[in-house]
């Protein structure tokens, strides 16, 4: 491919490309994102290639491995164009039938369609599935349409049109004005207005400036940025180039964690392709603007997602944060003015340039515009990636899109904002999702992790879990975080182990105050949030753990006991046989008893006890009833009638 040297040439290349593609061939798009690959998408793609060749259809059917469309729960997912027939949980053995029935005969295979569990209705197209129907997908909608390794696919959906528009129809000042008008706020967690950040860097006198993509996504359970990087890397690149043009940077970096091998591969390939086509390098599209990008792989430290630690790591030093009394957009990488934005923020930029800020600000709330991608995980029916307009309620995300809580369990809390975020209870579900709204409620937007918890979740243990994560990920430089978070973790662990003492809550609050006010970086400053939000909304759980040694969720092992109800036990011997630690005392026609000394609280007896007996109970905060006397243990059964 020769370099494209003008916007007219780009237009011509795009027209030729679309003409060439207008073959009328059916196209089979199979998600090749990390989630679907893990559920066997690789084998499905191979099976399609084999079957198509076997049937001599190579010239008549196109196949592509695409990015993640989001519905990971039902992976591997595929869509057949032009009819847009969506099949879920496809296996390699389904492939011959799909080719012979759907591709050749144009017949839909019923059993591969999505069935809505609440109504039993089948959905033929993606847009009929409630999971998708209630979303507003401006970013991830393209993932299933394009081969994530093909720049031509990106060009076919108008890719790099925003770049051409910015370079040839707009001055940097106009681009900046548009981004400011859109009120695009940082999707990485902080929510700082991107336009204001860019403006500071643009106005800084230093002639050498940098732009950075923060792709060091590290929150437990979060995979929004991964899906965008893997699925549509050019959209991020295009946003970055536009940003560089706006602020006057000639070098950019993509800091991506090495735990994302497919993302690293796809973004590297995208850079190579963009260089070949003339979207990167010297004199981009003949505009006179030069810009190059390098990929830097993170070495696995969560704290490097913090902007100043990321820049320190990019400079080749240990990834420790530095104080930001002078903002990094004025004095950042190598002390030069630097704009650092998150993957999703950059991916929004081409859309804003193409469609205009006025289009963008139609979506959202007063303070938060556009959409937000969340990874919806935990105790939720539809696990996956969702993109919703700002201002949607938590309830709509969890119930309309997420399909509610599985297994007939009750909702307890939703955790947003990753380890720095907080947990919100049932009565906050009508909260509108937005940066300021979530912060006000004691949680935060964060980068978009959304973990749903049901009634079996212990909120003290949730706080303990996140503090454990943060204590491990703290860089260890400043005292309030290194020592303070460690002490908070110790106390929380004690509480979950039944060693909590009166005064622990107050001590935790004191430690939290020091960490929030005196830590060096955002990791330490926000580390107490999981504790503070769970204390605010679930204080009774802390108190019952400490005072009554009771875990109301029946989760904390040290605070629970298993007990067999002698009135219900039918001496069926199932738990007796399945118990891995021989802690069930019993026998034929002998009511079973749990030996509390031997019991390891593995939950097996409760799981295997037949539902019609329902004899095994978990108890907490009360003494285990004494075993019934030996003489009463024998069950006398009537003869067979």
């Amino acid at each position: 491919m020769a370099q494209i040297k003008s916007p007219d040439e780009l237009k011509k290349v795009r027209e030729e490309l679309l003409l060439r593609r207008d073959s009328g061939n059916p196209c089979i798009s199979i998600c090749a994102g990390a989630g679907c690959l893990a559920s066997g998408a690789g084998e499905v793609i191979a099976a399609f290639k084999e079957e198509i060749e076997k049937q001599g259809l190579t010239a008549d059917v196109d196949t592509k491995g695409t990015g993640c469309p989001g519905f990971c729960e039902k992976g591997p997912i595929m869509v057949i164009y032009p009819e847009e027939i969506c099949y879920v949980q496809v296996k390699a053995e389904d492939v011959p039938e799909i080719i012979s029935q759907t591709i050749k005969e144009k017949k839909i295979i019923d059993r591969l369609l999505y069935v809505e569990p609440s109504t039993g209705e089948k959905a033929t197209q993606e847009s009929d599935i409630p999971f998708y129907k209630n979303q507003e997908r401006i970013l991830i909608c393209n993932n299933i349409k394009i081969d994530s390794k093909s720049i031509d696919d990106y060009l076919a959906i108008d890719g790099y049109a925003a770049l051409a528009k910015a370079l040839f129809q707009m001055t940097p000042e106009q681009v900046l004005a548009e981004v400011k008008k859109s009120n695009l706020r940082g999707r990485g967690g902080g929510g700082f207005p991107a336009g204001r950040k860019w403006e500071g860097t643009r106005n800084a006198p230093d002639p050498i400036k940098y732009v950075i993509v923060n792709a060091d996504e590290g929150d437990p359970g979060a995979f929004m940025d991964r899906a965008l990087l893997e699925g549509n890397p050019h959209s991020i690149l295009e946003g970055l180039i536009i940003g560089a043009y706006t602020i006057g940077a000639q070098e950019g970096y993509i800091y991506v964690r090495q735990e994302y091998p497919l993302a690293v591969e796809n973004i590297n390939l995208a850079i190579k392709q963009a260089e070949e086509y003339g979207f990167l390098g010297k004199n981009i599209l003949g505009s006179g603007f030069d810009f190059t990008v390098k990929v830097h792989q993170g070495a696995g430290a969560f704290v490097c997602g913090e902007s100043s630690a990321l820049m320190t790591a990019l400079e080749g030093k240990a990834g420790e944060p530095r104080p930001k009394y002078i903002r990094s957009n004025i004095k950042g990488l190598w002390e030069r003015p630097t704009v650092l934005n998150n993957v999703e923020t950059w991916a929004n930029v081409p859309l804003i340039i193409n469609k205009g800020a006025d289009w963008f600000i139609q979506m959202g709330t007063e303070g938060s515009k556009g959409t937000k991608v969340f990874s919806l995980v935990g105790k939720i029916t539809n696990t996956g990636l969702v993109e919703v307009p700002m201002g949607i309620t938590l309830r709509d995300i969890i119930y309309k899109i997420g399909g509610g809580i599985p297994g007939g369990k009750k909702f307890k809390a939703v955790q947003t904002g990753g380890p720095s975020g907080g947990c919100l209870p049932e009565n906050m579900l009508d909260l509108e999702v937005g940066f300021d709204e979530l912060t006000k409620a004691g949680s935060m937007m964060g980068s978009g992790g959304m973990i749903i918890m049901d009634e079996d979740t212990c909120m003290v243990d949730v706080a303990r879990y996140f503090l454990e994560f943060l204590a491990d990920e703290s860089c260890g430089k400043c005292v309030p975080c290194r020592e303070g978070v460690k002490q908070m973790l110790k106390i929380l662990t004690n509480i979950t182990e039944g060693k909590g003492r009166v005064g622990d809550i107050e001590l935790l609050e004191e430690l939290a105050e020091t960490a929030i006010n005196a830590s060096l970086c955002a990791l330490g400053q926000s580390a107490p949030n999981p504790f503070l939000s769970t204390l605010h909304y679930f204080r009774d759980e802390y108190e019952s753990h400490i005072k009554e040694k009771r875990c109301s969720a029946l989760y904390c092992k040290e605070l629970i006991a298993y007990h067999i109800d002698p009135d219900k036990c039918q001496a069926c011997m199932i738990c007796f046989k399945k118990c891995p630690s021989e802690a069930i005392i019993g026998g034929k026609n002998m009511i079973h008893i749990v030996d509390q000394e031997k019991c390891t609280k593995c939950n097996t007896c409760l799981e295997v006890c037949p539902a019609r007996f329902d004899a095994v109970k978990k108890i907490s905060g009360e003494p285990v009833p004494p075993p019934i006397p030996e003489e009463e243990r024998t069950i006398v059964r009537g003869g067979k009638e």
Binding site: C478, T514, S519
Partner: protein, 205 residues
């Protein structure tokens, strides 16, 4: 350099652009406690004991004075209920490592910090980084560094620097250590090395 006027504890202080609040305070004899600060080293901002209240345009925030640059009309309060509470907590956290360190004991008395507030830790190190930074910034040797992260972070000598006698002939970092941790780390490294053939051949010279 332009002159900057700011207020520290109610006193008007004249400072030069580029100075930190800590430097400005010291220039007029106002004391702010520090643990990781040393005149020959770049400010580090790790111990956070020099946290003060800074008021800019009516907004009050807590900042570390060793790094916060002076600015026109800045109002600084080096003591307040909140500042004292935070310093007390920082001291208590550090005292769990080094209950008998003299610098800490003096401050503990002033701020009412209880050395037994937290369970004792086996390490004496308070991670002020004076040894590590002195070796890197002043001696340019990098013979000692931090290893690991978070609660597991500790100082460690680079064995080659001991075997090649760089450390033997220097030891300038020793008096900087506010606790006994540095000497312990050195002793440990030396003891571990005494088994190695390289060390023996060096020491026989």
């Amino acid at each position: 350099m332009s002159k900057i006027l700011l207020t520290i504890d109610g006193r008007e202080v004249e400072a030069k652009e580029g100075m930190t609040v800590l430097e400005a305070a010291r220039s007029v004899g106002i004391t702010i406690p520090t643990l990781c600060d040393y005149e020959k080293l770049e400010p580090y901002g790790a111990c956070r004991i020099c946290t003060v209240e800074a008021e800019v345009k009516g907004w009050t925030k807590l900042v570390v004075s060793c790094l916060y640059p002076v600015e026109q009309n800045l109002i600084v309060r080096t003591r307040s209920e909140k500042v004292d509470r935070i310093r007390k907590m920082i001291l208590q956290l550090l005292l769990s490592h080094a209950p008998y360190a003299r610098d800490l004991q003096g401050l503990a008395k002033e701020y009412g910090a209880d050395k037994d507030r937290f369970e004792k830790e086996s390490s004496f190190c308070i991670h002020c980084g004076l040894c590590v930074r002195y070796c890197a910034e002043v001696k340019k040797k990098d013979a000692i560094g931090f290893i690991n992260r978070g609660a597991k972070r500790e100082i460690s000598f680079v064995p080659e620097m001991i075997t090649s006698k760089v450390c033997w002939n220097c030891k300038e970092c020793f008096p900087l250590c506010p606790t006994e941790a540095l000497q312990a780390a050195y002793g440990l490294a030396e003891a571990l090395l005494s088994d190695s053939p390289a060390f023996e051949s060096e020491s026989e010279e």
